[in-house]
Structure formats: C-alpha cells, structure tokens
C-alpha cells in the first residue's frame, strides 16, 4: 500500500456553509501535495479534517490504513502526537515558552526524560537554523523565525505527514522562500509526506502535485 492518506466522500458544514462537499482524495507516501484555493474555498477545513484536527460530518479518512474518523478525542490527540506535524499560518507559538520549549511542546505529555526531550528539540532547531535563538521568546523573533520554530515543532515527533496551512502566508517573499525550501528538504531528505495549503500560485507550483479546491469541491488535479 503506497497511500498514506485515503479520504472518501468527506463533507463538513460550518454554520450554514458547506465548507467541504463530498471530497475524495488519496495522498501517497513521500508526496509533496499542494492544495490551492482562494480564501473561503475550504482548503484549511480540508487540511484540518485530513490532519485529524477536526471531524468530518460525513465520509471516511484512513491514515496509513487506520480509520481516524471513528477515533475518540483522546485517541485522535495521540494520533496527532505520533503521526502528524502541523504548521500554521499564524505560527501558533506559546508566548510564555522559549524557542526550545515551544519546539519540545509535543513531547511534554509523555516525555519522562527532560534531557532527552531537550536534545531532540535542539536537533530539530538545528535543522531549521535556530540553534542560536533557543532561549528567545516568540515576541523576540521575526515572523520567519517564528515559522521556523513552528516547523521544528512539527517535525520533533518524526511525523509521517506534515500539514502546512499557508506556511508562507504571513511572510515576505524571501523568508517564504526559505520556509518552502525547508519543507522541500524535509520531504526529499527525510521522506516526510507534506500536505500544504496555499493560495499562492508560485508556492503551489513548488509542490510535486497540485490540486485545486473551490467552494468545498476539488476542481482539478
């Protein structure tokens, strides 16, 4: 089996809006998939369903052969912790934790060895060139640095898939380029599958595979 994600007939309604409408999608292991769509097209909602952050109203998602749509909240949380790394457009760092602690955050609940936890966080920080900013707090970092912290946090658990929601959306072109290069490096060098949502044509074309979404429906591939 080469597919890491198999989604069938996914639907999700937010308020009165059908954000996702009968979407079916396969993602192969090692893919770098870009989902492109305009604002309100449903791309972030689709990403949240595929990553197990949110539940679909209908349909089924199999992640590496395991059905995540029927999992309890706690099991879903554990699933995310072990299999998924998520990069947000707005970074979503915890302001009271420094860079090292923010990166190590996913290890907090079950790490009994603090030293090992921080070592892993340092290695992740090294991969995103943040070794010299470990003791800084988010408020002391630039947007690009904060997004690199988010990226390091996403890879600390050696995830099977990184879900990136507009990872360059709040960054200037040069910094966005750097983040994109990092994602590609993680995809090529470490073989991590990447599912990225973007509205940017340039960034979308960087992916190995591009699908478009409009009004909650996949329009082409």
């Amino acid at each position: 089996m080469n597919e890491i994600i198999v989604a069938r007939n996914l639907s999700k309604t937010l308020g009165n809006v059908k954000a996702i409408n009968a979407v079916s999608l396969d993602v192969k292991k090692g893919d770098f998939l870009a989902i492109q769509g305009s604002s309100g097209s449903g791309k972030t909602t689709l990403l949240s369903l595929l990553s197990g952050l949110d539940r679909a109203d209908a349909g089924e998602i199999k992640f590496d052969g395991e059905d995540i749509t029927s999992m309890s909240e706690d099991k879903l949380a554990l699933f995310r912790r072990k299999n998924v790394g998520i990069v947000f457009q707005s970074y979503n760092l915890i302001p009271t934790l420094n860079v090292l602690e923010n990166i190590a955050l996913p290890l907090f609940p079950d790490s009994r060895n603090k030293k090992e936890m921080l070592e892993r966080a340092k290695m992740a920080a090294e991969m995103v060139w943040l070794s010299k900013r470990l003791n800084h707090y988010p408020s002391e970092l630039s947007g690009g640095e904060q997004q690199r912290v988010g990226l390091a946090r996403a890879i600390i658990n050696d995830p099977k898939v990184i879900f990136a929601d507009e990872p360059t959306g709040n960054l200037d072109t040069e910094t966005g380029r750097m983040i994109m290069d990092l994602l590609k490096k993680l995809n090529k060098v470490k073989g991590i599958t990447v599912v990225m949502v973007t509205h940017d044509d340039g960034m979308a074309k960087e992916a190995d595979r591009l699908i478009k979404i409009k009004d909650g429906v996949l329009t082409n591939e």
């Binding site: 949380a77 912790r81 072990k82 009271t96 609940p109």
Partner: protein, 429 residues
C-alpha cells in the same frame, strides 16, 4: 509538567499572585481564628489554673439581715469542717486547701477577710505574694492587701481592728488581680473561725460551728477530675435547701461545685459568641476564596484558550491539559499555603504578646453590691498573657481545606477544558 507549570506561574505572576494572596489570607484567617477560638477557651480556664485547683466547693446561703460585724456572703455559706476528711478519701483527690471568707462590716470601713491555712497549697500561694514583712505567726497577726493598705494608710507593725478584734499587720501581700478569691485582709484560719463564731449577725443568718469553713479547693488528678467531681456532688447531695434563692439565683443551702469546665461555661458566654462568629467568618472566607480562585482561574484559562488549542493540536489529550492546570493550581495552593503559614506564625506571635482580661463571676469572688464605690470589685478582673499558640493540628486542617479548594477549582475548570475544540479555538482566535 511541573517545569511547565512553574514557568507558567513565573510568566503570569501578576495573574497568579492574586490567587496566592487570597489562599494565603484564607490560611491566615482560618489558622488565626481557630487559634483565637481555642485561646479564648484556654483563657477562660486560666483563673482556675492560677489557683492550682481542679474543683472548688461552695455552699449557697442566706443574705444577712443587716450589715454589721462579720458575715458570710450568700454564695459562701458555712460548710462543716468535717467534710474535709471525707473529701480526702475520694479517689483521685491529691490535696485539699480550704479557708473561711468573711465580709466584715466595721464602723469605719468594710473589709474582705480570708482565714487561711498557711500550710496548705492556697496558703502557700498567698504567702508567695508577700511583698513586705512576714506571714502571721500568731492568731492576732494579719496580712493586708497592698491596695487596701494604701487606701487606708496601713503600714507594717500597725494595729487594725477586724470585727472588734485587734490584729497586728505583719506583712503586705499583692493579690489583687492575681487570685480568684482576692481579699483585703488575710488572717489565720483559726482567727477567722473565731471571728465568725462570735459574730451574732452571722449566727443569726447561718448556723456556724467553730471549725466550719466556707470554701474548699480540691486538687484532683487530671485524669480523674470528672469522677472526683461526681463523687463530690454525691457527697454534697441532697442539698439542705429551704427552698429559697440567693440574690444571684442560686438555691439556698445547695452546694456549688465549680470545675474548669463549669467555670468556662459560666464566664465564656462572650467567648461562645466569638466561636459562632469565628465559624461564620471562616466559612465566609473559605467560600469567598473558592469563588475568587475559581473566577480568577477561569479568567486566566479564557485568556489561555489559544494556548490550550495549540496544545490539543500538537497532541495533548484533555487529561494532559487537566493535569497541567491541576499542577498549576496545586502549586499556587502550596505557595499560598506556605505564605499563609508564615503570616499566621507572625500574627499568632504578635497576639501572644497581648493580654486578656477575665471578669470573675460574683459567686466566686463576692463583693457587696451596695458598696459600689469601686465597681471593679463587684466583678474583679484578672489579666493574663493571652494563651494563643500555633498548633500543628490547625495547619493540617487548613491544608485539607486548601486542598479541597484546589480540587473544586480543578473540577470546575476540567469541564471547560473538556469542551475545548482545538480547531474551533484556532479558527476563531
């Protein structure tokens, strides 16, 4: 978890300091108020402890027809001296002191006169208060209380008349405010018995035999006070009552047997009120603290919605976040409790430096109501160092209360955390 919680407390110290202060203040209130309650009760026993006696026996009698010569107050009617040997046989009785307390209405002045057996414990205590001169060597010697001596210009070696009998002042004692049965003049028991026996007014009021006394102090084994009291009640029952009442409502002829407990209940009506007040204030403080801490923590959690959303997104389960919040709450409780203990120590230390004044009931230290020139004498006041102390037991009880407070807070917050949806939080924050 603890590291994260400590960091959280450090970074949001302004928020959490309110909780810590509230918990600290509640701890101070609960410990100090509990200590005050017990200290008041202890204080009410002090006059009893001060006379080194466990039980006091008195008898209620008739009011004299007129104010002349030596009489016994109605709360201290004569008791047959024969009872002493019977009391000595009661199990648990370690020692007995006894005396004869008289009101002496002489032409020029009124004097309280106590006949003392100088060899018993009471006699020794009074003797230890001697500040000048020596103890009476004969039945015509007397000690005078310092205030009384100053008031009447009495000096050592001077002669004074008590109910027509001349005494030589051999010593000055300072007993006012220090003893339950404080007197103006102290003479040999034998001298007082002679004065009483020869007093027509007294004999007309109460039958007085030569060896009668009117106050007995029983020193009982601490573990047998109750049994000894019961046996004394049996010995002095049934009362030889004529059905009358004393001015203070006691049944004439009946015996009054005072113990530290009965003394406490007699003089502690004010303290009992304090008990209720203490309980009310403690409950209000505890409930107030629970509400403040829950409200404050809820507010803080609302502010941290996004943080919890991020935590859930990266794989924290609800119970992981609950544990985190529980640790944070517990840490605040521990710090607040520690602060409260330190402040309680300081408060109790300061209170222990103060004094407490206790009014002795008239029955135990009677003074004629109609001689009201010095109202303090009618209800003599004794002052003691306030017997408040820090008890480990209270701090343990308060620790339980603080733990319950933390638990309630965590329980309330748990519902909020469980209902938190990561995607919804991140979508709208």
């Amino acid at each position: 978890m603890i590291g994260y919680a400590l960091k959280e407390l450090e970074n949001r110290k302004r928020k959490y300091i309110l909780n810590i202060m509230v918990i600290g203040l509640v701890v101070v209130l609960l410990i100090t108020l509990s200590s005050l309650g017990v200290a008041f009760k202890e204080a009410s026993r002090l006059p009893f402890e001060n006379i080194h006696s466990s039980i006091i026996v008195q008898r209620n009698g008739n009011v004299p027809e007129n104010t002349s010569g030596a009489v016994t107050p109605c709360s201290l009617a004569p008791i047959k001296g024969d009872y002493i040997s019977q009391i000595n046989k009661i199990d648990g009785v370690k020692g007995i002191s006894y005396g004869l307390f008289l009101w002496v209405f002489d032409k020029d002045n009124f004097k309280r006169t106590l006949g003392v057996n100088w060899s018993d414990d009471r006699g020794k205590i009074i003797g230890s208060e001697l500040i000048e001169g020596s103890l009476p060597q004969s039945d015509t010697d007397a000690l005078v209380e310092r205030d009384y001596a100053q008031q009447h210009g009495l000096k050592l070696g001077q002669k004074m008349k008590v109910s027509g009998t001349e005494f030589t002042i051999t010593g000055i004692v300072e007993t006012s405010g220090k003893d339950v049965v404080s007197s103006d003049v102290y003479v040999n028991l034998n001298s007082a018995q002679t004065l009483a026996y020869n007093s027509k007014n007294l004999q007309d009021t109460e039958k007085f035999n030569k060896n009668d006394i009117n106050i007995i102090f029983v020193d009982a084994d601490q573990t047998k006070v109750k049994e000894a009291t019961d046996n004394l009640k049996a010995l002095f029952s049934p009362p030889t009552s004529n059905g009358g009442k004393t001015p203070t409502g006691q049944t004439t002829g009946a015996y009054s047997i005072y113990t530290p407990e009965s003394f406490e209940s007699q003089i502690s009506s004010l303290f009992m009120m304090s008990d209720r007040l203490i309980l009310t204030v403690s409950l209000v403080a505890l409930i107030g603290a629970i509400l403040i801490v829950i409200k404050s923590m809820s507010h803080t959690l609302m502010e941290r919605r996004k943080e919890f959303g991020i935590m859930k997104a990266v794989g924290f389960r609800s119970k992981d976040i609950q544990s985190e919040v529980a640790v944070e709450t517990l840490l605040q409780a521990i710090i607040g409790y520690g602060l409260g203990i330190v402040l309680s120590f300081a408060a109790i230390f300061a209170l222990a430096k103060t004094t407490v004044s206790i009014a002795i009931p008239w029955e135990m230290s009677p003074y004629p109501h109609f001689l009201t020139s010095n109202p303090n004498l009618i209800a003599p006041v004794q002052t003691y160092p306030f017997p408040i102390k820090f008890e480990a037991m209270y701090s343990a009880e308060v620790l339980v209360a603080v733990f319950v407070l933390s638990l309630l807070t965590v329980l309330v917050l748990t519902r909020y955390i469980n209902g938190l949806n990561a995607m919804e939080v991140l979508r709208y924050e």
